[in-house]
Symmetry: C2
Subunit: 456 residues, 2 copies
């Protein structure tokens, strides 16, 4: 059987919570410890009643027995933790009432409640790891980075964390699984993350947004200084129903919030992997790019394959991007690297230029020309993976992207023996690389959506 | 500089074409060889004219100098090859006229023309590799498999080939880059692949379909015995324009063909990686699944994460799939592995069942129950990656999927140290595994779209 509870206990002990029975922090003042002890006793009485009423309910009881109350020294935005494991079914009224009683007791003693029905909190800088799964043998500080994850789902947030640790897409500042949100909800966590110096990018998976107004204000405060990607489950009717049974939450007016989020500059992710992939893009470039116009969706494509250019244009339309019409000076400058019989356009299909002036010059000239064009807001690179990595002007591309404050995103296809090297070269220059074209173009859209939000 | 032409020559020599100057096969009868020699001389005269007219045109000339005419012993559907490299720009009228003259000459001598503006043909069984890029040091027979790729783009088809060789998504029977289709077009190649014993799955990237009626007939003949995935570039206006300049082709009535393809059971891919991922699914299961109804889009979800279930339902709606309403007997059977306080539904969120009966039994019982339910057409597995691979009932799942002729597709998330093992376990049982949920659900949709096409 699963060892989730003992793993939970070990994780909390490692984070400095000393009291094994109730995880009351040794760092707390005496009066607060006493309040917590009292609360714990009250809960135990409730549990006894529950147990007597339903002896079959082994799984729920096992979970409830593991109730932990923990707290840390008061600080602004420092949440104290209360975590009831995920087996608690909120559909059962007595547990729902108990959940509310916990919140009431905690409020009296000035505490805040986290959860229930989630894996809690990960803070890589202060090496706090509360999920009920074993932390792999990894130094939390080694994975400490600039991306915060907020998830209204315990298993996912924990899964994310493990996937992130080993995938290397990006490094993490905080991972917050907020579960049923008996007390602390998504808006409050966003308000915290907006002010958190360790966090430069916020990824949020949500199932319900009970207070749309507060949520949009919180999103706005995040977006004032850092990008926000939202994956909102419950778009479809079936999913909205499932969300109710999962976290006891109504999905809310999805389409209203959707429109408002886009206005603010939030890109909505389609699934978890895409959210991680977009997280990578923003982790490399947490700041805002500066589109030349407030529209900011005109993209130049540099490709070695006409077919890739064609499909990219279709996907750009899906993602709300427009092919840039290159300015006359840009076209003239490009003509210098193209054979005379080949009039360059957008997509810039540079194979003939490569045959004329070589890989390095063809890419350098075309990319710089496109980035310097005032009619271009961003550049998509679609090269073929080959031995040419050594002469690929990665550093120049990264430097120009930063200097001109315009995003460059690359898809690369072909010989996978050279993909990793290409990726490393470009990503060390803060240019994200994808092996699927759809995500590549969605990343460009996410960059420009964030930039457009700022323009308003 | 690139060595594309010498690579092309080497590749053809390895395939058994002896005459270096014009790649006229030593296996041809004398009369055909003479016809080809004559044609070659005519072309050289044209080239001389062209050269005199445009001495700057170095790149095009280099390409034209490399014109190769090759042919193999006549057989039904055995195409002879003519490949003019991709530098030929069909916008130039004199080259367009020359292209037509090549076709005319070839027709007189009973030959067919392949291309131009493409990388030609790969046949893994007969070890023919014509692309103008170096074949990696790999035994073609070792990558010989059941998936054929048809692509109206030279670089992509070659890139695909290299990506496929090393990615191991699936193995390949034929890779056909048809370029500008001066003579042999997509419909004829599809007709060939429909009858090709080595091919069980067809993936097609197309930019233009000049004869919609013939194309749909060819697609129908493929679908009579094997699945077909189509990625059609040029949905958007910008892409349609780019397609014209890339392969001189009008995109055709995209939406008309789109509707007809779906009716036939063709899933349209969004991009190249997705096409490969769907190719993997069909490579594992080239036959047809049998949905219980002609609607065939009712899916059961088995998940360890409520959040994953919610997002999966949203993505299912995007992909035209419906959550199955489990039958009363199925619900009753599931209740046997769930705690009494937990009424099972769809999504089947099996965490409580795992806590009650363990990983192996929870997954076995829930999957078999779902697959045997007459109200279910397919099952999505959404587990968390963990050490539990050893007890995961992969063999049982694969056996049940084949016995009941219903597709099972899995997404897996979490600890990536265990992902590969999980993937191998399931895929050896012909259950495809994806690390992004969107593609996972699209693969299920592709299976059921193919099955529904058959039902009509």
């Amino acid at each position: 059987q699963l060892k989730s509870i003992s793993d939970f206990n070990k994780n909390l002990q490692q984070a400095g919570f000393a009291d094994e029975s109730a995880f009351i922090s040794a760092r707390l003042p005496q009066s607060e410890r006493e309040a917590l002890q009292k609360m714990s006793q009250q809960l135990e009485a409730d549990l006894a009643t529950l147990k007597a009423r339903d002896t079959e309910n082994q799984s729920a009881l096992q979970a409830i027995n593991a109730q932990q109350v923990s707290t840390r020294p008061a600080e602004e935005h420092q949440q104290q933790l209360l975590d009831i494991t995920q087996s608690l079914k909120e559909t059962r009224q007595q547990i729902g009432a108990m959940q509310q009683r916990i919140v009431d007791i905690a409020r009296v003693s000035g505490m805040r409640v986290w959860g229930p029905n989630c894996t809690g909190l990960v803070n890589t800088r202060e090496t706090i790891f509360t999920p009920f799964m074993r932390l792999p043998n990894v130094d939390l500080e080694a994975i400490s980075g600039n991306v915060a994850i907020l998830a209204q789902s315990g298993m996912l947030a924990a899964g994310f964390m493990l996937q992130v640790i080993f995938s290397g897409f990006f490094k993490v500042s905080k991972s917050c699984a907020i579960g049923n949100k008996a007390d602390i909800g998504e808006s409050e966590v966003l308000e915290y993350l907006a002010a958190d110096d360790a966090t430069q990018v916020v990824l949020a998976y949500l199932e319900s947004i009970p207070d749309g107004r507060r949520f949009l204000e919180a999103a706005r405060s995040v977006l004032a200084t850092k990008p926000l990607i939202v994956l909102k489950g419950g778009r479809s009717e079936a999913a909205a129903q499932a969300a109710v049974s999962h976290t006891a939450s109504l999905a809310g007016a999805d389409n209203v919030i959707d429109g408002a989020l886009r206005q603010l500059g939030v890109f909505r992710a389609a699934d978890f992997m895409q959210m991680m992939q977009l997280g990578k893009a923003f982790s490399l470039n947490p700041g805002r790019f500066e589109p030349a116009t407030s529209g900011g969706n005109r993209v130049a494509l540099i490709t070695v394959s006409g077919g890739a250019g064609v499909v990219a244009l279709d996907l750009m339309q899906d993602a709300g991007l427009k092919p840039a019409t290159l300015s006359a000076p840009a076209i003239e400058r490009l003509q210098g690297i193209f054979p005379s019989w080949m009039p360059p356009g957008n997509p810039i299909d540079i194979w003939p230029a490569i045959e004329k002036v070589g890989v390095e010059k063809a890419f350098s000239e075309s990319i710089i020309t496109a980035l310097e064009d005032e009619d271009v807001d961003g550049v998509l690179l679609l090269p073929f993976s080959s031995r040419a990595n050594a002469v690929f002007p990665a550093e120049l591309i990264g430097e120009a992207s930063q200097r001109l404050r315009k995003p460059v995103v690359s898809w690369v296809f072909g010989d996978i023996r050279f993909l990793d090297e290409y990726r490393q070269n470009l990503e060390s220059q803060r240019v994200p690389v994808y092996d699927d074209l759809r995500t590549c173009i969605e990343a460009m859209s996410a960059y420009l959506t964030y930039a457009r939000g700022a323009a308003r």
